[in-house]
Amino acid sequence: MKNLLEHTGIESGRLHFSWISSAESTKFVDVVKKITAEVKTLDPANKKYVKTEPKVA
């Protein structure tokens, strides 16, 4: 899944996979912190990935 998305030009820091048990609250927090930190270093997503204004109505 990750490979094709990155192949089509989505930056490697944007997509993360993690296995977290419902009991692992601290791991969840750590992972989310790491992901947000990493994603913040990238360009804002609305440049490419979000339909801000549809080109065709």
Binding site: L4, T8, G9, H16, F17, K48, K55
Partner: protein, 315 residues
Amino acid sequence: MTDYTDKIKEIAKRLLAEGKVDIVIGFRKGTLPMMNQPHVAASAESADELIWDSSCGLNLANYLTDKKGKIGIIAKGCDSRNIVTHVIENKIQRDQLYIIGVPCTGMIDHHKIKAMFDQEVRNVDESGDQITISGDGFSKTVSKQELLAENCAVCTHRNPVIYDELAGDLVTEQTNVDPYASVKTVEALSADEKWRYFEDLIAPCIRCYACRNACPLCYCPTCFVDESRPQWVGKSQDTVDIRTFHLLRAYHCAGRCTDCGACERACPMGIKIREFTKKLNKDCLELYGWEAGLSIDQRPPLDTYKNNDPQDFIK
């Protein structure tokens, strides 16, 4: 490959006469050059319409989904691999089928041929490995090798992998080709360049879904693009919607695509849609050592679990 025609007719008529099959699925001459139509023959007369040439590129496995009764089907290498995929996915039973194998030397690319001439191509004749293309006031003979569809040019499974009878002698498989050369070129680009590459690639897309309709893997009763509750993907021509459609379509083919090229052949805009699925095929081969549709006894990688499945991406 035109010499297969007589043999195909003979086999089809024999099977129908003996009652071994109810129908034979093959091709007949289309109304336009290079556009042969899928044809279902149920009688000796209609079996007479069956033909075979280098424009039989569509994938006939597409017409097998959930069919009842005994079916004869003509299968080149890629069709036979999709028949295997259908059997694995329980869309047809092996004992319903009588597979007439056609060793294939590749199909010609109608997009490429039309682009070669300014005028309309009226006639395409084939003799051995020479193709003569003609129209109003022009005629040109080209070697078939130069006109091959891109997936056929790099095909390494030209002979059917499963068959009950052959319509010709097996051909030598190509070994000196790199099926994934185009993927490697894109892999070498930066993230931004990749994005632009695919942006340009799918820019002409008109969302006609011909690629989905031609694909033997796309047999869901309601496709995700047609669902409205929930609506999985926007239906507009916005680039984000177009890309979402192409990505999801490709993922649905992961580990199942045989690179038959039916999607590209059906595309009215000549988009190289295989660029998406090729990457998944390459990943499947590298990560799981899997090529789709080679054996009916083997389960595909995405519905089996192994201890050594790659999982480096899970942090």
